[in-house]
């Protein structure tokens, strides 16, 4: 067990950044509501995630350009506009989820969301403007490692491992909108669109060349695998602890109960700390990713050290994303958990469009030279895109038919 953790160390750190509030709530709900029934999706999506992130990284290493820049140069203004609209929608929605995460965590500490969210929005904005969030980043990352506790809790909860194993490889569905909307959310949070932009620009910023990439890609792959590993254990834990009792998560405190087998009364605090730091971290990263990508696509000045008069659109975008995210949470009566999961549904709906752009670019010999996709990659990626579209389609059809 510990050996496993040591081997996956760097990956787990990357993974916990990916498991933000939207992720935690979606995975928890999947386990609580449907038990082990959705595990097989997570198993299949591990392959999709690995391949998508590898493609994003490879594009960055080969071209030295961000995903947004490549979309613009390959497709021109009009398609880029819609791609960026999709990214902005996905980022803004996820931002809403992060502030929901902050609000939920602070409510577990007994602080009203009407106090916590405005303060958090201002603090996030300041950290971003000053570019000083890099200093806090490590602390937050370390704190969000709390979620690794799910792996241990899963063992402490003593599930029937045989059933778990079987569920991992046995596809099964329930024919109702609720099931499919959670399935779309699961896709959207596991293969979050913004993560692909983020991974690629990280590779570009580091100046990784294609030669170095053959080594560096294992970092990205390990991160992707570890992220899903933790996610699978969250589902196993909530499925073992909450599902038999018939607890469906409607409040953050319900989700926290899942950690009780390991830490007892401290479950709430532990969960709240993890949720708070993961949400906070992502709330800083998301508006920046949106700002950088959109400005990169349209050639506007960007950079946290720019004044408003120098980079009005960049600063405008991230300010917009932060404060819209916070404002929606302040609407009285908003159900935080529902908001978190809904945002991931939006992510899941936007995902296939961006992946199609990615597939066209990565198979373009003029851009990628000899580093285009192999056949296996293409097959898995297109299956992923097809399934994502099919899930969304099924959700829409079932909703339209009024099936319950």
């Amino acid at each position: 067990m510990w050996l496993l953790l040591a081997v996956m160390g760097p990956g787990i750190i990357a993974a916990s950044a990916g498991n933000d509030s939207g992720g935690i709530s979606t995975y928890s709900q999947a386990g609580a509501k449907y038990g082990y029934q959705m595990l097989w999706m997570m198993f299949l999506m591990t392959f999709s995630l690995v391949i998508v992130q590898e493609m994003a990284g490879r594009m960055g290493a080969v071209t030295g350009k961000g995903f947004a820049a490549l979309i613009r140069e390959r497709f021109g203004v009009r398609p880029t506009f819609f791609a960026m609209l999709a990214l902005l929608a996905s980022n803004a929605a996820t931002s809403v989820a992060e502030f929901a995460g902050i609000a939920a965590a602070m409510e577990l500490f007994g602080v009203s969301r009407y106090v916590a969210v405005p303060i958090a929005a201002v603090v996030v904005w300041l950290l971003v403007v000053r570019g000083s969030f890099r200093n806090v980043e490590k602390v937050l990352l370390a704190l969000s490692l709390v979620f690794v506790a799910y792996i241990i809790t899963a063992f402490a909860a003593k599930p029937d491992w045989l059933v778990v194993g079987r569920s991992l490889v046995t596809p099964s569905f329930q024919m109702n909108p609720a099931f499919f909307s959670l399935a779309v959310a699961l896709t959207g949070t596991t293969i979050a669109p913004w993560m692909q932009f983020f991974v690629q620009s990280n590779i570009v910023d580091k100046g990784t060349s294609i030669k170095e990439w053959s080594l560096a890609k294992w970092d990205v792959i390990a991160g992707a695998v570890a992220a899903n590993f933790v996610a699978i254990f969250i589902i196993v834990t909530t499925a073992t602890v909450l599902h038999p009792k018939g607890i469906v998560i409607s409040l953050a405190s319900d989700a926290a109960i899942a950690l009780t087998p390991l830490v007892g009364h401290y479950a709430t605090i532990l969960f709240a700390i993890g949720l708070l730091s993961a949400s906070f971290l992502a709330a800083c990263v998301l508006p920046l990713t949106a700002g950088y990508s959109i400005c990169e696509a349209f050639g506007w000045e960007a950079g946290v050290d720019r004044k408003f008069s120098e980079a009005p659109i960049f600063i405008g975008i991230y300010t917009f994303v932060i404060f819209v995210g916070a404002a929606i949470i302040l609407i009285p009566g908003a159900n935080l958990i529902a908001v978190m999961i809904l945002s991931q549904v939006i992510n899941g709906m936007m995902l296939p469009f961006l992946l199609i752009f990615m597939m066209i670019i990565i198979n373009d010999k003029r851009i990628m030279g000899q580093y285009t996709n192999g056949r296996i990659y293409n097959v898995i990626a297109w299956i992923t895109i097809g399934s994502a579209i099919a899930l969304t389609g099924a959700l829409l059809v079932l909703t339209a038919l009024g099936v319950t």
Partner: protein, 616 residues
């Protein structure tokens, strides 16, 4: 005006009025300020690409089509010439460097103009209008009209061909134009500005076009964090060559930031003399005189004649950063005096150095703080300042350009403060921005302490009397109050530092109004934050309020008080009395500490009564 994005996809019609294809691209010939369009590329039936000479076959261009002057059968197709650039393929949607604005921008559209039967490229549109136009032309019209309505017309941002430099396609073999300003012809500081906006691989591409001298200059001008990165990306031979060319102090700065192995490799590859100088410099503390000095100094001895000194200068001047001062040393390089270039020129060639030497000179030690060194140079108007060791031997000189860098670095904070003197509520924003990271660190400490206190009181073993909680809370928040008050007083008294006359100051009434607004906002924000934090940790709202209210009140009072003091001090200084700004700030700080602790005491006694009344 004709825009490329509107032309693309429009039909090409031959002399007989028959539609033979759609426009896919047009090519320009480089080498002119406003390049002529020379070729037309279009897609014929079945998407077959064709290319035609513009001069021979194009009859006319308008909004909806290109008309040719010959029927389809008489068209003769041509190929792209080496000096031609395709507008859509090579320029549209691509990143270019605007060598006039020193920016990296993306080409959103290309603007062309027709005159006397010739179509010429005016420039690249890089602004919002280009994006809107290629999105949907009516959108641009609507946006322009709306902007005009609000009195702020939406300008086109056009970059002329001769100010463009292309990043993606290597066009270095193309003679772009006589007046074409290429990246490598810019001042190194401007090149550095552009480089900072590029991704590492684009940066590497630009460096391929710079020779070693230009690269060395540009690297010296880059931001500190980027210097090591850039060098790391170059081949080791090239990196070491560039480091040799750079001034040793700049080279040492960069090598100091590299990983150990890389640094050693580069030092080995460098010339022996240069490497030794750099190694010596690396031994000094960063931000000290030794860290910023250059060891390349012109030294002469007293027994030399002026002619000999001039000859020596002529022989070595190329390598030296500064030749305006020539230092006179005795045996073992002990510094005895200095002669200036001026002294040297006005003296007759046979004069001995000992006759014109100035023995009274300023020196600093290698461990002196760089800010002191810079201050000294600015105070005495020195172009260079010698650095000597304890026994008086000269180690090197700090030159004025290094001193300017130091001052820029160290003054940034003060400058920001001075900018805060706009006396508006927007100051609060500025203040929050400046103190952001500091606040985060403090918040972490506060959380740790608070959780420790909470854990202790939970176990019940060391909860202690309730006043302990109050005192620790009050003390914990004291630094926050002081830090804020420090900024407040600085803000209020900037008028003093800048020495603005009465006319430069806003009227007293408005000043009081904005200040009480700032005070109110700051005070309530701080109080809210403190209340929230304490309430989370202790879940005792009464206690939290007892901590928060004094903080808010203190800030409000101090905002008004510091303005009042500033106004009095300004009156005093106007009437000729000297007022020490730091004394004022210190006084205000002490006062605020007293007010805060006093208020905290009062609030706590209330809270304690309320708590005991509630039986807690």
């Amino acid at each position: 005006m004709i825009y490329l994005t509107r032309m693309l996809g429009k039909p090409v019609v031959d002399a007989g009025g028959e539609r033979i294809g759609v426009i896919s691209d047009i090519a320009i010939s480089t080498g002119e300020v406003f390049p002529r369009v020379t070729s037309l590329a279009f897609l014929g039936p079945g998407k077959t690409p064709f290319m035609l000479s513009w001069r021979k076959f194009v009859e006319g261009v308008d909004e909806d089509r290109i008309t040719l002057n010959a029927p389809r059968d008489e068209l003769r197709f041509s190929y792209l010439q080496p000096d031609e650039v395709l507008l859509s393929h090579d320029l549209l949607d691509k990143q270019i460097v605007d060598t006039q604005g020193m920016k990296v921008v993306r080409v959103n559209d290309l603007k062309l103009s027709e005159s006397r039967g010739q179509l010429r490229l005016l420039g690249a549109e890089v602004g919002l209008r280009g994006v809107l136009r290629s999105l949907w032309p009516p959108l641009e019209t609507a946006a322009a009209a709306a902007a005009k309505l609000f009195g702020r017309p939406l300008p086109e941002s056009i970059i002329a061909w001769n100010y463009m430099d292309l990043l993606d396609r290597d066009l270095s073999h193309v003679q772009l134009s006589v007046t074409h300003k290429r990246l490598h012809e810019l001042h190194p500081a401007d090149v550095a500005d552009v480089l900072e906006q590029l991704s590492p691989s684009q940066r590497a591409r630009v460096f391929e076009h710079l020779d070693n001298d230009q690269a060395a200059d540009a690297i010296s001008e880059l931001e500190d964090e980027l210097q090591a990165d850039v060098l790391d990306d170059l081949t080791e031979e090239r990196a070491s060559d560039i480091l040799e060319i750079m001034d040793p102090d700049d080279a040492a700065d960069i090598i100091g930031d590299l990983p150990y192995d890389k640094a050693e490799t580069l030092l080995h590859l460098m010339g022996v003399r240069e490497a030794r100088q750099v190694r010596k410099l690396l031994g000094y503390r960063e931000k000290s005189a030794g860290g910023i000095m250059t060891p390349e100094v012109t030294t002469v001895t007293e027994d030399m004649t002026v002619q000999q000194v001039i000859d020596q200068l002529r022989a070595n001047a190329g390598d030296l950063e500064n030749i305006y001062y020539i230092y006179v040393v005795s045996a073992k390089r002990v510094l005895d005096g200095v002669i200036s270039l001026r002294d040297l020129i006005v003296a007759s060639p046979e004069t001995l150095v000992s006759d014109i030497v100035t023995r009274d000179l300023f020196t600093v030690g290698p461990d002196d703080d760089q800010e002191q060194v810079a201050d000294m140079m600015s105070k005495y108007d020195l172009l260079a300042l010698p650095v000597v060791d304890e026994s008086g031997r000269i180690l090197g000189i700090v030159t004025v350009d290094d001193a300017l860098d130091v001052m820029e670095e160290e003054n940034a904070e003060d400058l920001e403060l001075a900018m805060g003197s706009a006396q508006s509520a927007a100051d609060a924003w500025l203040w929050l921005r400046r103190t952001g990271s500091w606040a985060v660190i403090w918040a972490m400490i506060a959380f740790t302490v608070a959780f420790a206190v909470r854990a202790l009181s939970r176990t019940g073993t060391a909860g202690g009397p309730p006043w302990l909680l109050g005192v620790s809370g009050a003390v914990l928040f004291l630094p926050v109050v002081l830090r804020i008050v420090e900024d407040l007083s600085a803000r209020a008294t900037t008028g003093l530092i800048e020495g603005r006359g009465e006319t430069g100051r806003p009227p007293l009434g408005r000043r009081l109004l904005t200040d009480s607004l700032v005070g109110l906002v700051l005070g309530s924000l701080a109080a809210l934050a403190v209340f929230a934090i304490t309430d989370i940790v202790t879940s005792q709202p009464t206690f939290a309020a007892a901590l928060a209210v004094p903080i808010g009140l203190t800030l409000l009072v101090m905002t008004l008080l510091s303005t009042a003091v500033a106004v009095l001090a300004e009156r005093a200084s106007d009437s000729g009395q000297r007022v020490s700004q730091s004394l004022l700030a210190g006084g205000l700080l002490i006062l605020s500490a007293l007010i805060y602790l006093g208020l905290a005491g009062v609030a706590w006694s209330f809270a304690a009564r309320a708590l005991s009344g509630a039986g807690v």
